[in-house]
Amino acid sequence: MRSLATDVPAECLLEVSNVSKAFPGVVALDDVSLRVKRGTVHALIGENGAGKSTLMKIIAGIYTPDTGELHLHGSSVHLSSPRQALQNGIAMIHQELNLMPFMSVAENIWIGREPVNALGLISHRELHRKTRALLERLRIDVDPQAEVRTLSIARRQMIEIAKALSHESQLLIMDEPTSALTERDAEHLFAIIRELQAQGKSILYITHKMEELFEIADELSVLRDGRYIGSASPRALTRDEIIRMMVGRELSQIFPGAPARPGAVVLSARDLTLEPQFRNVSFDLHAGEILGIAGLVGSGRSQLAEALFGLTAASSGQLWIEGCEVKLDSPQAAMSRGMAFVTEDRKETGCFLRLSVLENLEIAVLKGAFVRCGFVRKRAATQACAAMSRLLGVKTPDLHERIENLSGGNQQKVLLGRWLLTRPKILILDEPTRGVDVGAKAEIHQLIARLVADGAAVLMISSEMPEILGMSHRIMVMHEGRVTGILEREQADQVKIMELAAG
């Protein structure tokens, strides 16, 4: 791709040229170029994992690109820290807010830059005056002395924006700012965004929501699999065209053909509800079936999985396992019914990083045949774990290696192995191949297919379209905590899923 740096139009504020960034095992961005014009709202869209967040973080100075350049006002800049980005007029408003709850609004906004009096002490009067002026300019009605923890999420978001602008930023990066806002708060946010735009600021706006594109974006750029697909005005496109730009990809991987004849219903849910995470979720899961669950981040999929496994009990609704109504209020209860759960976050909720592969494998089966009078039957447990490790092809020097030293794919295999040792009838997999390299991914897919062929029932949450489409017999799509549709494999395609997922 040719460099665009030579003929920058005057109104171009930020230009990203040929930026690439790789992480161990994945190429997050591949030769991406992008221009943000002054005084515009530029939306960045793409599926989960398309590289949006990585690009944002490069622009905000959190990551440095492997190759490629950033140009601000036509001149090349090198941003090696968020602080440097701020000094260059770029501020990022994170999805998870970074305010200190026990400090006042004014203290939060000016932290590290407090005005001082003649004695070198902080002048609170001046601090509050400056804050009031800033908030008035943005038409945000908040007391500068209020403690942040007393404010609603929406108000906190506005304070974040005010903080960003207090640095005299020219470019504001917003990562799904409305994900935690009500419709009315979102309206207020849009009003502020339009106001900023009128003042000549630019906004780079990540979103998953179609309506927002049409409402506030002047221009949109699409990323897919770490590549830049194209830019356009949202007014020139239809909703379907935008979705096609986001997902337009052939199924390149070969998935193991799942057997087509599912058996009896093993798990049946009716009107499961846990406000505000999900509501009225009903579905049946058959033996020998993979039910894929698609949806955007924040659609309540993982919370549903946690409730099914008894981690946070649903507040209402019914659940049957093999025809018996059950109440699952703890993981032990779920396990005793033959359930297993491989969580989404390998490091946070899966691995015991400081313990060995063996200890990670055996932990869920320390009962029955493997324990006598409280003593672990070491030989039996080790043999079973070694056999499982061989079956899964875990690459490790030996079973006593710390799991920390294994690659992501091998860690994931160990976690699968931990649950397979319990011989589950119902297996819940949350993002089973996230952050796993291609080879291990295929092996994990093969393994899941084999389990299903042996009669296990699998509930598989995945944000990867090819995985969902390639593996599932049926696909349940969720949007903001509701099931928006259950598609048969034959009638499902990426566009339909995206439409249901976008609500």
Partner: protein, 342 residues
Amino acid sequence: MSQALAQRTVDARSARRARRFPPAASILMVLIGLALTFELLGWILVRQSFLLNEQRLVVMILQVSVIGIIAVGVTQVIITGGIDLSSGSVVAVTAMVAASLAQSSEAVRAVYPSLTDLPVLVPVIAGLAVGAAAGLLNGTLVAYTSIPPFIATLGVMVSARGIAKWYTHGQPVSMLNDAYAAIGSGVVPVVIFLGTALVFHIALRYTRYGKFTYAIGANPQAARISGINVARHLIVVYTIAGTLSGLAGIVTSARAVSGQAGMGMMYELDAIAAAVIGGASLSGGIGRITGTVIGTLILGVVTSGFTFLRIDAYYQEIVKGAIIVAAVIADQYRHRAGGKRA
């Protein structure tokens, strides 16, 4: 790429080499090094052997036996990612309660004049029960409230000390019967210490109790999802630690042939130090009883070594502090290096 690969191979090789040594080996070296240093200084400064004196060695272990008993319990708490600050005060309460039930009929002003000359089992069981109750309280606070273990056990530490003073309005409990005093005489405390250590070494290494303890410390969320009843297990671990503090209180009062409200002062810190010197990580998931035993012996060697060289007790404390800090620094360095199991 090939460079990275070479690095990995080297890492793997060094990790494998590290495993051939028992993990407690490095701290054992420190113990031997310290002992040899005192041996050398002994010949230079006081013209005596430090190690070739059976009596001194027995006294040395005897002095730290009580700390060692507590440290065995505290190590388990630390492995779960917690801490127990209440041990020293629990020693005082149990010493008072057990002593009050172990008085001989010759005692003037006995706490319970009608309950003298009871069988020795009575004060022992009462003492262990008091310790277990304190541990149960610690465990319940840690498992069912969101207050950190540091604060929960700090509260119990302060209150337990108060109870110890209130129990006899500050009066010491003396004139204990011979059977009770026998618990603290001769090498009995050493036997109790090493016996306790052996039992819990086996429990941590070979039982489900041990596996769950390490798992909870390494990742409480993953432990819960793996079907471990984390709250219940934490209560068990803290109760065991409390019971061992109670045992330490019994030994302390039997050795002194009296119970005093000021007993066990700062013992919790020595016990934590012994565990940490022995390789237990305050962030949980790592620690061994063998290491703790060696850590306890290191504290003993330092104490008796300085006495042997007739150096002021002040210096002894200064050096002890430095050793504790050095051990934690070494511990963190080991974790940054990743690799081997500690």
